[in-house]
Symmetry: C2
Subunit: 428 residues, 2 copies
């Protein structure tokens, strides 16, 4: 028997003027979340007539589309049933083996049990938050630092101890005092950092490891761009330096460093494939967290990435990317030399996707952006990368996504916008 339908009018929540019954039920943590300014801006800059230096997007011209098409055919033909089925939370074993071999070339000797495949490196950051961060825990970060890490960890109630950086990376002389605040771990992007493009010098890598060990504080090394070096010598990973320092050969088993990387910048971000290298015990905890979060990363994508990367393809492909991005970086730096007022300072990244501009103190990058958007050119104001505030006059410029012609034109326009703003606002 179907019960009669009783029409309720004037229910309590409508009297309170709430829009939906969900409105007053949000968890406390949502107050700390909020949408990323960078991501919101990305939407705005999707208009095709905007020259955008705002996102962190790879150049679509270098996506190996043909290779992907072949890999999809092969994977579906030979392993179709497996590729479309549920898979283990840890990730597809041949891909983890492939990553272990790849990682070993940089002096990090790992087994598949040290490796967890994540749904992009962003998920690795989130899982680290879930597994390690209690509300109120302090995380030691560079200032400025990667916004996505702050976004992931804000949801777990993290507080931040921010260590200033310069053109050699995190200022390790300021690290010792920061460590006295008892951070749970140190988060560092040693190579071509997002947002600044700066690389942590070898000397500071040793200082960082020495201080971290002296204070007993472990390190998260986030390395999405390490292979995208356009000049200079490869510097040893923090994992490697820590292993040397601690003298342990099984450093991935008792190690002080968790290492993160991704296929997003060397293959394609649209696959959402990243990985974590950590002691097996940490991997097990992260696997438990990942089970509850998305069961596992898409099986199909893992098999396709494995197939695409096979036979040395990835190494050859990275060379192509380096060539394209090196040129774009050089075009941007030359254009800035030509068109930017001499009062603006900027970094000269040896790799990666970004460089960092510092305008005179009396300029606000958010205001400059408004004028820039009118001239159809976009960048990200630097302020939101500073967890402790500051950086109102800084800007992040991406050089990987736009073509050299657009970079030249966009920097020309941006130079004019900054110059006009300076003339308007310069102190007498």
């Amino acid at each position: 028997m179907v019960r009669p339908i009783v029409k309720v009018t004037g229910a309590i929540r409508d009297e309170r003027g709430l829009q939906t019954p969900w409105d007053h039920r949000y968890a406390h943590r949502t107050k700390r979340m909020g949408s990323s300014a960078v991501r919101e801006l990305l939407k705005f800059t999707e208009q095709p007539d905007i020259i955008s230096f705002a996102g962190g997007l790879p150049a679509p011209e270098v996506f190996p589309i043909e290779r992907f098409a072949e890999a999809c055919q092969k994977v579906l033909r030979d392993y179709g049933a497996q590729a479309l089925q549920y898979g283990p939370t840890e990730g597809y074993l041949p891909l983890r083996e492939q990553i272990a071999r790849h990682t070993a070339r940089y002096g990090i000797n790992v087994n598949p049990e040290n490796i967890l495949i994540t749904s992009g490196s962003q998920q690795a950051l989130d899982l680290i938050g879930k597994v390690f961060i209690n509300r109120g825990d302090r995380i030691l970060v560079e200032s400025p630092t990667y916004l996505g890490a702050l976004q992931a960890w804000n949801a777990y109630g993290a507080e931040y101890v921010a260590v200033p950086s310069d053109k050699q990376g995190m200022i390790t002389d300021a690290l010792e005092e920061a460590l006295r605040y008892g951070p749970k771990f140190i988060y560092v992007l040693p190579n071509f950092q997002n947002p600044t493009g700066v690389t942590l010098s070898l000397e500071r890598r040793y200082q960082l490891v020495e201080l971290a060990n002296r204070f007993g504080v472990p390190i998260i090394e986030d390395d999405p761009y390490g292979q995208l070096r356009y000049e200079g010598e490869h510097l040893p990973s923090i994992v490697v330096v820590d292993g040397q320092y601690r003298g342990n050969h099984d450093r991935c088993y008792r190690g002080n460093v968790i290492y993160l990387s991704t296929f997003s910048k060397i293959l394609a971000p649209g696959l959402r494939l990243g990985w974590v290298v950590a002691p097996p015990e940490v991997i097990r905890k992260m696997v438990e967290a990942k089970q509850g979060e998305d069961l596992h990363t898409a099986t199909f994508n893992q098999l396709v990435a494995h197939e695409v990367s096979k036979g040395g393809f990835l190494d050859e492909h990275v060379k192509v990317i380096r060539q394209v991005y090196r040129q774009r970086r050089d075009v941007m730096l030359a254009a800035m030399d030509r068109y930017f007022p001499s009062e603006v300072d900027w970094t000269h990244p040896e790799g990666g996707l970004f460089l960092w501009g510092t305008m005179p103190e009396y300029l606000d990058a958010k205001e400059v952006l408004k004028d820039a958007l009118e001239q159809k050119v976009a960048f990200v104001p630097g302020e939101s990368f500073y967890p402790g505030g500051g950086g109102h006059n800084t800007m992040r410029l991406n050089f990987s996504n736009a073509t050299p012609e657009k970079i030249e034109e966009g920097i020309y326009r941006l130079g004019n916008v900054i110059r006009a703003k300076m003339q308007e606002l310069a102190p007498a």
Copy 2:
């Protein structure tokens, strides 16, 4: 200048006998996480000679592999640069539009702004936890209920109010008392529930909605199997019933129900594609949470799923799945009639992937499983699906993954195992 390397021996944490520097740093919430018994068991049952009724895996025979291969080629040829690039957190707009049209056929009129694409339905559960659950919040669930929801929400400190169910689903007569415990929301799987296979009757759907509205408690409707009905009439979704009850035509804007579904059971779980239907304001909060969690769901997978589903393919494909699974269900039910002791009781699901067996009280399903594994047949003991404990003598049996021949053989073996255990343990 490179600092000298100081070799530290006997560091504090080694004296304490800790294996890694991370060991004493885990967040409190990890104590509530733990690995899913079902997932751990899945590993064990990967051996090819085991007949497994344990997982919730679709039949690989029905994956439309050819159609996938064509879709991958088309997507990469026509939209390669977009498919491999970063995308919006909300999801690929044409896929959201496609889902909106699909959803509208079931009387749920929605726009793309009501829809968020998630990395599988599991991520939708996790995001709901992140956005709504404070530590100690009570969630009203059916008992037994879907283990993945408990796993997702345990991490956010949820407590549970468990309402018993029978062969008509959640016993709504027990719901009123449960609602006095002030749950944040009600979680229900109305169609061919995981784990029991039971469908919430029409009368109880109205009772559920009436009580939820009377107490002002919103509902999460989890519907991964709704389209996989093998007999009987489609019953209206809780969203639809709630809309009728509240008399609002814009029910997806001020609605009391969040609706979840997935491509995992109608297309392929290896893509990790699910979706949420909710008021736009809730979608916005979930988008913020998702940004910090994985930026967005894999673009490539969204474009491929959209391409595969086009032109009515999905409807035709679902018919094929229904036919295959109906046969497997019938084979399993007939075999149970033939081989199971009469003291065992089981559900007769009208759809979905699972049925539920109840053995005599004096049997423990975990002990039966040990014997069953010796006979190379696996199932999931029911206990872990009960958030408040109980169900030691229950079992979940999956009928979608094994072929009819294996089902027949597996049920024969399982019947013998149960019979032997009963003879061993039956009270005098």
